[in-house]
Subunit: 232 residues, 2 copies
């Protein structure tokens, strides 16, 4: 494995905020504990990767997985984002989970409950085929636990045709808003309902592929599939 | 209203892809029709705003609303992102909706169904208090239709304490993946279930604020609240 981004010292339970990751707005919502940051990263399925190209910012969604002290993303070797990233371009990887619509008595204090993580860093390309295969496995297994052993394994050509990047999980912060509306004491008697409508990303019934051969049923890990935050 | 970003000519039903918005990877997933782009923007609740600060990319989630041919975002005048944006910083605003987990017979072809829009542009600050109030109303009403008339209206101080930015919806593209797995013909007989687990962001039961006065019930627009894509 290409472990060069992995620290050799014991991992700290806290991230040290830097100029780039310190939460400035609503500092009470800032979280720097590793456990909080990892839990958010392990629940999300898509990250938004920001990079600079010709002086302009670009933000693209992509799948990812946290693997210890790094984030893995993958895609085509032809991707502009991945090519730039493989060349050491600075990235910001942001993961956001939406938890609720916060309805205050005052228009001004309406908000959303959310948990987000921003990671700043430079990517390193994972080159070695065994390490790339392990990354592909991590991506599938995190999304659908139990899936890897059932599916047709990647060929050498597919491994070669996948660019895998790792971003070190070294410079990161989280921002978390939970709970009900926070508003002025003088508004508390305003005669309107206030509270939260919780939100969750929920699965529907599995839809079988049109070309599925007769007699093949969805396995339990598909029928009982849940978002990572709601798995038993 | 600060309408200076609104085109005076009839709005085209198609966006013209530019070097910055043309979808390069999976061009079959690219969408440039205005109706598709607007529908995605009108369904999302949070966008990811990318900007460059000291040469580094940053990506922050924030609420937004589409209002005609512009995107409105808001926040504190102290926000670093909004301050830079108000000064004409280039932005990329990306909205992503997750629609499903795509399970192929081959590990390599696992994917996600999604709809995303990326908008490139420079923000302009909305200064005039009546226009800012209209933007605040649009933000609340898009999130919770019917809410505005019920709540305590913004004071002049709250309006002054909110920075509102508009980003013109002029340079934009969408990327959409729908349907089942796409894989090699030779894999179609591989004996494993393949298909899609659909995903949707769904509301739970409303949670009343702890300080809610007795006798105040959640109104119908709260009890029946749905994400914008699922409203009747």
């Amino acid at each position: 494995m290409n472990n060069s981004n992995k620290p050799t010292e014991p991992v700290s339970s806290q991230f040290v905020p830097t100029d780039r990751t310190r939460v400035r707005r609503y500092p009470a919502r800032a979280r720097y504990e590793r456990a909080t940051i990892e839990a958010i990263l392990d629940e999300g399925m898509v990250c938004h990767v920001g990079f600079v190209h010709d002086g302009h910012p670009f933000v693209l969604p992509t799948m990812y997985v946290r693997d210890g002290e790094r984030i893995l993303i993958h895609g085509s070797p032809l991707s502009r984002m991945l090519t730039g990233a493989a060349e050491g371009l600075a990235l910001c990887v942001t993961v956001t989970l939406l938890d609720g619509v916060v309805m205050a008595r005052s228009a001004f204090h309406h908000s959303m409950n959310y948990r987000s993580v921003a990671i700043i860093g430079r990517a390193r390309e994972v080159i070695e085929p065994t390490a790339k295969l392990a990354a592909m496995r991590a991506l599938v297994e995190r999304l659908i636990p139990g899936r890897w052993a059932d599916v047709r394994q990647p060929t050498p050509g597919e491994i070669a045709g996948t660019r895998v990047l790792e971003i070190p999980l070294l410079e990161a912060s989280a921002k978390v808003r939970t709970g009900g509306p926070v508003e002025l004491a003088e508004d508390e008697s305003f005669p309107v309902w206030a509270g939260v409508v919780p939100l969750s990303l929920t699965p529907g019934e599995p839809i079988s592929d049109a070309k599925l051969a007769p007699g093949i049923e969805a396995p339990e890990y598909v029928r009982r599939w849940r978002c990572a935050g709601r798995r038993p």
